[in-house]
Symmetry: C2
Subunit: 492 residues, 2 copies
């Protein structure tokens, strides 16, 4: 069939791109660096959104919506943040087209419709939001503000890859305002935990929680917390970040509040986000050379039923049983598709649903009917089993839980196997090139050393793990003393 994938061993990067396109998750578009998220891919993103949105609301947050555009003067108000994003901004300069006098039926930008002040298409919304919060916050009674936004953002990346790095992407960005530093830090950490919970328990992807070094921090943050995951090729992927913004934005936008004892204080801030990049992490964590492998909790179709039959009469007999099973599964809250199309053969359907990562496939043949059995196939292990129709709803329900757990345990074992403690720079380079993965090594704590290591190896410090074990050691690069190991890797 034409949907055959490049294998991972052949070319991991091509395998990824092939898979995303052929499994109907997303595709390239006519706009440089922008993708089209296809219905099947979007249905998985919707499941992610639903789970995350509930977690945000359960922790007291509300959704809101702020403008797509940021006037340049607001954009540049928080200087570090502006500097961090200035080089990758889409900029609106005009608000009208007119017909081209020299070219019938064509349009040109109307030079008379030039904006007085350019508008930046949001790469992130701190500036426009903190400018708004200024009018929302007067006293301590107005705090905290716990707001999230689901939105599109644009960062003009030069090298793009479907889901992993695109010029436009979808995300959520939480922006909270607090009376005290302690409360803001607690919020930052809480949201990191929410992200870790989601990525591990829904996406079945194990993560390392940590803090970024000053070099890798979000532009405008005092501290950036992050979760880092390891992909099958041994490269790291930053799956989510939660920033403690200190009073930087409050100062840039002059957002003060009156305390209980009637003093004026600047407000404390956090922001936190995950994006459609998670779709890339999901694909790269679990999938194989046959296609996508989806964790049941995020699959939009959890079970597919394929009939194997001859003639209309055969189909009618099989369908009766299939529809009965479908109903029983749906009653358990399981999402089921019964594919009785006669335009495709069972073998084609098997391959198609393997490619699309449907967790469980049930095949029902005419012969099965006499025996009261069906064939159940697991996508994660590619194993098949003949089981009794009696009690199949409970069996499938348990199987879905087992698959969800198995995917997580498999990814966890891989991450552990690919995490290496290293004590010399030679070993560091060797592991990076040959074994790949996470490397725990001593570092002297300077940006200089961090940059040198990056230049020489393309590895970055992914994070300083939270609750890191303290141990004396020497920096693998400078030989200077160090008190803890940090997490290095080459990253997406």
């Amino acid at each position: 069939m034409s949907k055959e994938l490049t294998t991972r061993a052949e070319d991991y990067s091509k395998w990824y791109n092939d898979l995303v396109v052929k499994a109907d998750l997303a595709d390239h578009s006519a706009v440089r660096g922008c993708m089209v998220i296809k219905p099947y891919g979007y249905s998985i993103w919707e499941n992610m959104q639903k789970a995350l949105d509930k977690m945000f609301k359960d922790t007291g947050h509300q959704n809101a919506y702020f403008p797509l555009f940021i006037p340049k003067s607001l954009f540049e108000a928080e200087e570090k943040n502006a500097e961090g994003f200035a080089k990758e901004c889409a900029i609106v300069t005009h608000y009208r087209l007119k017909t081209d006098p020299n070219n019938k039926g064509k349009l040109i930008v109307d030079p008379e419709a030039k904006l007085e002040e350019e508008l930046i298409v949001r790469p992130t919304s701190e500036a426009i939001i903190w400018n708004t919060y200024k009018s929302w916050i007067q006293s301590y009674r107005d705090l905290p503000i716990l707001v999230n936004q689901w939105a599109n953002v644009v960062r003009w990346e030069m090298r793009t890859r479907l889901f992993l790095r695109t010029a436009e992407f979808l995300w959520q960005e939480g922006h909270t305002a607090h009376a005290t530093k302690e409360e803001a830090i607690a919020e930052t950490k809480q949201m990191l935990e929410v992200y870790a919970d989601f990525v591990e328990n829904w996406m079945a992807v194990p993560v390392v929680k940590g803090v970024k070094t000053a070099n890798e921090r979000f532009a405008g943050a005092d501290d950036t917390y992050c979760i880092e995951a390891l992909m099958q090729d041994g490269k790291a992927l930053q799956a989510g970040t939660s920033h403690f913004l200190g009073q930087n934005f409050a100062k840039a936008f002059d957002v003060k509040y009156v305390t209980k004892d009637n003093k004026q204080e600047y407000v404390w801030a956090t922001s936190w986000g995950v994006s459609t990049r998670l779709m890339g992490a999901l694909v790269m964590s679990h999938s194989d050379d046959n296609g996508l492998v989806l964790p049941p909790k995020l699959a939009s179709i959890q079970v597919v039923i394929v009939p194997i039959y001859k003639g209309d009469e055969g189909l009618a007999k099989v369908s009766e049983v299939a529809n009965d099973i479908k109903k029983k599964l749906q009653a358990k809250g399981i999402s089921v598709k019964y594919d009785d199309r006669d335009s495709q053969r069972p073998g084609w359907k098997f391959a198609e649903y393997e490619l699309k990562g449907i967790p469980v496939r049930i095949a029902i043949g005419e012969r099965d009917l006499a025996n009261g059995t069906v064939e159940v196939a697991r996508r994660d292990t590619l194993t098949k089993e003949t089981v009794s129709i009696e009690g199949i709803d409970s069996l499938i329900e348990n199987l879905l839980t087992e698959i969800q757990n198995n995917l997580f345990e498999k990814a966890k074992a891989r991450t552990q196997q690919l995490t290496t403690k290293v004590d010399s720079f030679d070993e560091f380079k060797k592991i990076l090139d040959e074994k790949t993965g996470f490397i725990l090594a001593h570092w002297d704590g300077t940006s200089e050393t961090e940059e040198k290591i990056k230049e020489e190896t393309k590895a970055t410090i992914r994070c300083i793990p939270l609750n890191n074990e303290q141990e004396t050691g020497v920096c693998i690069y400078s030989g200077k003393p160090s008190t803890q190991r940090v997490l290095f890797a080459r990253a997406y």
Copy 2:
């Protein structure tokens, strides 16, 4: 209190704007013509989205996501559509800022980062979507495509009003592709019915279903179907449109399919959308001089419970009963807020929840406890009643249904009262100025007459009602013969 509204009689337009801002639905932003949708307003929009999204999925549609930007060459491909939107487009011309050499800490657009081809921020997505469909559609087996997108769009309107007309707004846009003309027309009509169902049965706003005249048609459509609603001030508001696009986009983007008998045919298209404008319709249909009035099916808080007490002991007693009632109501799927804040007095809370349109308020005083009663107040009628706590959950459940129905019936009676059959142009002008509302009048069917009437009266033909009664008559303007009355009004 400072939250007092301008009354409708005083200044309807100011009343509307006051209400939107003071009830915390939305606010103006630092970006010309763009609004901030505040958490309370957004929670109502989320309820609208949820209901509509389910209706779309129940009719076989899937969500997807297409790029925010449209390259100019694609934008201009369907000429009528391009012409229709050219005058109100935000245009991205550059992709980088740089530090201003003459002004420390400031940024300027980097002239070296000019795009080769300008990008239009989507005012609607037909162009980018049909350019994508070209690669999705080869044969009749790929049809129909039934896709919807939830997105932000930008139309550079010169005169903006919160929700009703903003430069950026949120909407959904369905874009479907079909093998036959009949199927596409059936889809167009089906989605009009979905919209009418939603607006009438969820928003409690009665609508007239109809077809636009050629003048008022969507740019690029062969036919535009619409639903029109009448606001309290007698002005019409277009609440949703569903377009039969013929083969216009298929031809512009060369999208053909192979039929069953192996012929090449152009694909037939529809598109349909509703936007955050519906929030404006919701506000203007039901609200009064005390504030918002929300239909229970869209209210994010359906019932608020306010305790009336003295001292901590009093609060404890009332809270026990209040929490018990809250639980019972929640068990019925009713969304309840118990406001036991001690920072505000009951009177303040009553006014606040009236302003915010909470359908039902339950007040519980210490005296009530002895009697086993509470006070139940309806927002729609502003009436109060003392009721027994026994069976209150069923009582409230029925009351919410009653309020939903009452709001619809009230709006329907108003619309009927404000719909006038008129047979002369003098009467037409008099009714428009004095009575206002919908006017049913004979029209000769020409664009010329339609434009003249618009010039002289600012009234437009809102639609030719579906299933219109056929009757002979003469055009109120030209005196030429006519076979049916059409619906005129001044509109938002």
